[in-house]
């Protein structure tokens, strides 16, 4: 028995980092459109028109890849069980230094909600983005609301990404290995996702 268990296979990891790259391309190319404070970011794309061009086509890649990521995991994240509700009621034990006994499956409740939010946000960013792409083809009111929703979801999305990055790196040592190398230590799996670990261990015995 090795020290490690596989958490994300190669395809899942590549897709995750593809979404990451398109997401940050969207941030860099779109931030100047969000506010004139960030007009300097246009220079990365040779000016505002270049930034808009990149934002549109990288946006299609983001929409497709992020949606695929969501669909691949939709079954694992769409149902909250009693353990998840307990996790939520204690906010995952993140607000105290005391020991927190959690009994999560492959994803804890926070990750499930994050995944569902990302899926829904991707859809809304996509729909409003396509409307903003051809603003003269839609009624003014629709375009105005789309601009508002696109900006609002971007803000919430980015704030959650900051939280996601923190929790997946320095906030929970050992977690990043799962998304880079694909494997996590048994110790990590037992602590953070005991229910999932037991399933994995059971499968190992039968094979």
């Amino acid at each position: 028995m090795t020290r490690y268990v596989e958490r994300f296979n190669t395809g899942e990891r590549v897709l995750h980092w593809f979404v990451t790259m398109t997401f940050f391309t969207q941030i860099l190319s779109g931030i100047g459109l969000f506010s004139r404070l960030f007009v300097g970011y246009f220079d990365l794309f040779g000016g505002g028109q270049g930034a808009i061009l990149v934002h549109k086509y990288a946006g299609v890649l983001f929409l497709a890849s992020s949606l695929l990521l969501f669909l691949n995991h939709r079954k694992e994240i769409s149902v909250l069980d009693d353990d998840d509700r307990f996790w939520l009621s204690r906010l995952g034990g993140y607000l105290s230094r005391g020991h927190f006994e959690e009994n999560n499956g492959k994803f804890n409740a926070g990750q499930k909600l994050f995944g569902m939010f990302m899926g829904a946000s991707t859809v809304f960013l996509g729909i409003t983005g396509l409307i903003i792409w051809w603003p003269l083809a839609f009624p003014r009111g629709i375009v105005q609301i789309s601009l508002l929703i696109h900006g609002l979801i971007f803000v919430l999305f980015f704030m959650l990404v900051i939280l996601h990055v923190y929790l997946a790196t320095i906030g929970n040592p050992g977690t990043l290995d799962g998304m880079i190398w694909g494997r996590v230590t048994r110790l990590w799996a037992k602590k953070h996702h005991p229910k999932w670990y037991k399933e994995r261990a059971g499968q190992e015995k039968t094979t």
Binding site: R36, G98, P135, G141, L148, G151, V155, M159, I170, G171
Partner: protein, 259 residues
């Protein structure tokens, strides 16, 4: 805005619908003609286009047997608080002239078309060149002391260019109500109307569209606050409560506390 702000007054009660202003504008700004169709009214063209910065709107109203005609010179009204400038992400594409009007620079326009959505009067147009176009109140004439082309051509003094305060005072002295004196921090183009604004297709209380206001004045500042707030919050968490370490390293007594 400065007291030296210039203004442009359109006294609709003087307008005879001759459309000299349309022609003069086309000529000065070297704008191509648009192909139009007869729609059973004298109004032509039926809407502002990328090649038409101003036009006379013909409004026919039943007057108990007869028809009463209203004429409105439709164009950019050069808002003091301009929605187009509020949303434009490209500095200098839309800019305020020394006289207080909103002009544009096609070379700096990045074709996002946000100004189309943000205008309370639905004025900016985009042509095949994918660049903004609208009335700039002849910024290239007034800067050197000439009247705007439309005002110069107007035979009835419907269109008057001059110090904004003076135009308002003159209208008030002749007991004419002025549209746009205070709306949107004061319009640069003021109207004297013969009827309710709605009759002319003008909004009674023009304002920047609500969703545009929420986007630029609420979501934007709160978003920037939210970004730095999130960064600060996770760093604060890291140095106060700290990470979820493995092997119960987080609590001093070996992680046996249950609460």
């Amino acid at each position: 805005m400065a007291e030296s702000r210039m203004g442009f007054l359109i006294d609709t009660s003087r307008c005879i619908g001759c459309r000299s202003c349309q022609v003069a504008c086309k000529q000065w700004n070297k704008l191509e003609a648009d192909k139009t169709a007869n729609k059973g009214t004298y109004e032509n063209p039926g809407d502002l286009t990328p090649n038409l910065y101003n036009r006379i709107r013909f409004i026919e109203k039943d007057d108990g047997g007869g028809v009463k005609w209203f004429f409105l010179s439709e164009r950019c009204v050069h808002c003091g608080d301009a929605g187009c400038m509020k949303v434009c992400p490209s500095p200098g594409a839309l800019y305020r002239t020394n006289e207080g009007f909103v002009a544009f620079n096609k070379e700096k326009c990045i074709a996002c078309k946000y100004c189309v959505s943000a205008c309370p009067f639905n004025v900016p147009r985009y042509g095949a060149d994918e660049k903004v176009s609208k009335c700039h109140l002849c910024s290239d004439r007034i800067g050197v002391g000439m009247a705007p082309a439309c005002a110069k051509a107007c035979p009835t003094q419907t269109l008057q260019y001059g110090p904004r305060g003076g135009l308002i005072a003159k209208s008030k002295a002749s007991k004419k109500a002025v549209y746009g004196e205070a709306d949107l921090s004061g319009l640069g183009v003021l109207y004297v109307l013969d009827d309710k604004p709605e009759t002319y297709g003008l909004p009674a209380n023009p304002a920047i569209p609500t969703s545009i206001f929420l986007w630029k004045d609420v979501v934007k500042p709160l978003g920037i606050l939210g970004f730095w707030g999130s960064v600060a919050a996770v760093l604060f968490h890291y140095v106060t409560i700290g990470p979820k370490k493995l092997e119960g390293e987080r609590s001093e007594n070996g992680g046996v506390r249950h609460d």
